[in-house]
């Protein structure tokens, strides 16, 4: 049923960006869509319903499919040593009269090998309640992400009102005992208004409601593994935080999340360029339930409350053949649980990041020639489990540079070569080791202490070749990246240390307008 619904929505999207629309030519130059400046602007404005009318792009479409492979032992303990992703992606925007329609669709099929210490798909999910087993297993994951936005202009383009829907699903399962199956869906509905109160100044607000449901079950083909302490690595356990755990039967674990949010935006045009500022807040409340246990006879395990603040500034300035932009983003995500067994808050999660991305593009003959960029980040990841006595706080600073060169050939052919390098420095990592060292603590939390404490170098190379085919630009893209880590020596007792290398390569092809 779900897949049928997706197919319908996909067809709707494809119809939205049909060939008739592709004839429209009021976008930037054809090859401009391969410039980072274009994507930065599109992502900044098209992602929110209140900002969508500010994108300044009437017709745009891209569609591509790709394959990516990731490997290497510099990874978190619950991360896959090897991962393959097959993905299909399309996004676009079209103006029709007073309506501006935009949307995206992504399908990703992921294969992960030898993932251990978790029976949940979603490495970065901050919610602390999940099944895990020590045993490694191979995952297959299907993910759909659909987003559609429509806004209408009123009052001679002074007022825009819009509605946006995001719908994401994940269906993930493992093919080795223990065999979890996870199904989750997430729906995000936004409504927004944008008002141009002066010819060059506009402000807007949007509000959203959020629903997420996740269900995770675990089954065994070999029942001996389920019941026996002779195979402790197969026993299903539940994590209540960041070290507080229990053994549990294979009953489902259900999480129901409700939430709301708001965003506000201002955009103005000045002599020094175009400036847009946006910020917002999201509140989520998740209730986690499962089977009754001796310690939790009601089957209610806990709640998890999340508050997310975000703010971003985008500056875009073009002078003659040079275009400058700056994207500054700040996010603050704080989560606290209420554990029903402890009748108290046990787990705290916090992620905070400040990111600055200046970018310079040189344009000649209305074509990008080269781009130079910086990527500066300061991030802090904090996790603490009061009952287990674990606390980890990782502050990291990263500086990256990138350079892209656009070689234009006759017949509007393009070869874009991008090289990038980045250095990440861990700053005074904090880790409190608990009195009781469980297998999870020594194998996951202590392992990840070394992962996050490492300083890393990384280099990326990307090649894109584009050629016009009829009225679109067809392209192929090859990318590869390599990361080298220096694992610090330390006194934290870990069952194993991460390796020092991680790599990926990916290849894709598509069309763009």
């Amino acid at each position: 049923m779900i897949r049928t619904r997706f197919c319908y929505l996909l067809l709707t999207l494809a119809g939205m960006f049909n060939s008739r629309w592709l004839q429209a030519q009021d976008t930037a130059s054809a090859n401009a869509v391969f410039a980072e400046q274009f994507h930065r602007r599109y992502d900044f404005f098209a992602g929110g319903i209140a900002t969508q009318p500010l994108t300044g792009i009437s017709n745009y479409m891209t569609l591509n499919a790709g394959y990516r492979q990731t490997g290497g032992a510099y990874r978190q303990a619950q991360e896959a040593p090897r991962q393959r992703d097959l993905s299909f992606f399309t996004e676009g925007m079209r103006r029709t009269g007073k309506y501006l329609v935009s949307g995206s669709f992504v399908y990703t099929h992921t294969l992960q090998d030898s993932v251990s210490y978790t029976l949940r798909y979603g490495l970065t999910n901050p919610q602390p309640y999940y099944f895990f087993a020590y045993r490694k297993g191979n995952w297959q994951v299907g993910q759909y992400r659909l987003q559609g936005s429509v806004s209408r202009a009123f009052l001679r383009e002074k007022l825009h009102a819009g509605l946006s829907v995001k719908y994401n699903t994940i269906n993930a399962w493992r093919s080795n005992d223990p065999r979890p199956e996870q199904f989750s869906y997430n729906m995000h509905i936004d409504a927004g208004l944008l008002y141009r109160f002066l010819p060059k100044h506009a402000a807007g607000v949007s509000g959203s409601i959020i629903r997420t449901n996740t269900e995770n079950t675990v089954e065994y083909r070999n029942k001996d593994y389920q019941m026996s302490l002779a195979f402790p690595e197969y026993v299903t356990r539940i994590q209540y935080g960041y070290g507080f755990e229990d053994r549990i039967s294979t009953a489902p674990l259900k999480s129901n999340t409700t939430g709301y949010g708001w965003q506000a935006v201002y955009k103005g045009s000045f002599a020094f360029g175009e400036v847009a500022v946006k910020g917002g807040y999201t509140s989520l409340e998740s209730k986690i339930e499962g089977a009754a246990t001796a310690l939790l006879p009601t089957g209610k395990y806990g709640e998890f409350y999340e508050d997310s603040w975000n703010a971003a500034l985008y500056w875009d300035y073009q002078r003659q053949r040079n275009r400058f932009s700056l994207l500054a983003e700040y996010t603050n995500h704080l989560g606290r649980d209420f554990n029903q067994f402890l009748q108290a808050n046990n787990y705290v999660y916090s992620f905070e990041q400040l990111r600055l991305q200046p970018l310079f593009t040189h344009i000649k003959d209305n074509k990008p020639r080269y781009e130079l960029g910086l990527d500066l980040r300061l991030s802090d990841l904090f996790r603490a489990d009061g009952n287990a006595g674990t606390l980890a706080d990782y502050l990291q600073a990263q500086a990256g540079v990138s350079a892209a060169w656009f070689a234009h050939f006759p017949g509007r052919q393009l070869l874009k070569t991008t090289i990038a390098a980045a250095y990440r420095q861990s700053i005074d990592p904090l880790y409190t080791s608990p009195v009781q060292q469980s297998v999870f603590i020594s194998s996951v939390i202590a392992h990840d202490y070394y992962y996050f404490s490492a300083d890393t170098w990384r280099a990326d190379l990307s090649l894109l070749y584009s050629i016009p085919v009829k009225k679109v630009n067809a392209f192929i893209r090859l990318q590869a990246g390599y990361e080298k880590a220096t694992i610090p020596a330390g006194t934290v007792q870990a069952a194993a240390l991460p390796g020092d290398q991680r790599w990926y390569w990916q290849a894709g092809a598509g069309v763009s307008l």
């Binding site: 001996d224 019941m227 026996s228 302490l229 002779a230 195979f231 402790p232 026993v235 356990r237 070290g243 507080f244 755990e245 229990d246 053994r247 549990i248 039967s249 020094f272 246990t293 001796a294 310690l295 006879p297 500054a328 700040y330 603050n332 704080l334 606290r336 554990n339 067994f341 402890l342 009748q343 108290a344 808050n345 046990n346 787990y347 705290v348 916090s350 905070e352 400040l354 600055l356 300061l378 802090d380 904090f382 603490a384 489990d385 009061g386 009952n387 287990a388 006595g389 606390l391 706080d393 502050l395 904090l430 608990p434 009195v435 009781q436 060292q437 469980s438 297998v439 999870f440």
Partner: protein, 453 residues
Amino acid sequence: MKTGKLVLGIVAATVLFTFGCRKKDLAPSSPPINVIVKVSYDNSGGTYTFPLTGINVKVTNQMNSTVLEKQTDGTGLAIYNGISSGSYNIEASITIPKAQYETITGLPLATDNITFNATKANLVLNTTTNNTIELVLEFGVIGDWVIKQIYYAGSHTTNGASFRDQFIEVYNNSNKVLYADSLYFAQLFGSNTVSPNQTTGQYINDGGLLQNQWDWSKSFGASADAATKYVYARTIFRIPGNGTTYPVQPGTSIILAGTAVNHKAPYTNAVGVSTPINDPSLTVNLSAANFEFYLRDAIPNPLDSDVDNPSVPNLVVVDRIVNRDLILDNPGREAIVIFKTKANVATEYKRLATPNYTTATDTVGKDRYLQIPNSVVIDAVQIQPPLATNRVPRRLVASLDAGAYNVPVGQYSSQSMIRKTSSTIGTRKVLRDTNNSTEDFDYFDRANPGGFK
């Protein structure tokens, strides 16, 4: 220019404000707990001054399987700071050498040493509970006979012999000849309900070792000590003999077989139906067992699987409720005892119905279980299922068995519990008997009648 400075200033201030003081203010409100274990001795047998220093205290977190061990100080205290809330087993034990024991008590001791044990199981400890735990060390029953091997798991249901091949091995752990005549073997009855309705008042609810077990003192006609000084049997068997018929040499054992046949060979039941054995290595040859549980002549509705080996003496069926053969609970919800008494068990021991039958009329026609005094028990073993979540209320107090054991793979695994060898004197092996099955037992991956570990 002014604008540029302003932006830079805002960015710098944000960075300093945001990341300058890290996340120290985000500490969870549920801190780890501190647990104080206070150990003392049961002085009901006399006010002796046994040592309070050096008592080993083991704290096991059942949720994450971590174990912390400490020795008590001079006041009998062991303090654990900064441990997690959760469900715990707490055990204390001390072994006192014979000479020290005799000096302290002035009483002779027949064994080389004596072990005191105390246990509290399934204790829920958190920030709201009283986390000062008092443990009273009890003098354990140390006998010449010990239960050496228990094969309760059985073997594979189609490739092996299922639970037909169960057996018990009893060992002469002394240095003198013992006679097996009139040695009793009993399987104990108890509640298997993990979370009973405590509002009925029929179950023990003191947080002690018998938590959630039937409170036999509430049974109709019971004495106040019915739950703590007695155990309740669902089967009782006795080795026949005139007192000297079955001598057992020091360091040797007797096998009590459920069915004393070679289970490695195809099996023919009492009505002539034959069952092949696909994998003989999974089961055992019990054709040379010393005694056999055979109920066909004693009950009106015997099982077809209960066949007799005429060359193996049968145990006397003293009492049985429901069971129609020796059937040890192969998931592990079991407790067994061996005992000796001059009393006529069937007629002189009291019978009690479970506490949910509150009047004399209620108990009519209901199962009533023979009450065996703890004082006559020679050895006792508490068995439990492998997974903590499946474990049931215990049937044995700490003075009979302060711990519990299970074979790791569980039912139909061919594994048996085997008592560890403590020492070897000449050719005689002395088996470990600290009255704590958790410490005293190991397991055979394949049951091995007569084997040692």
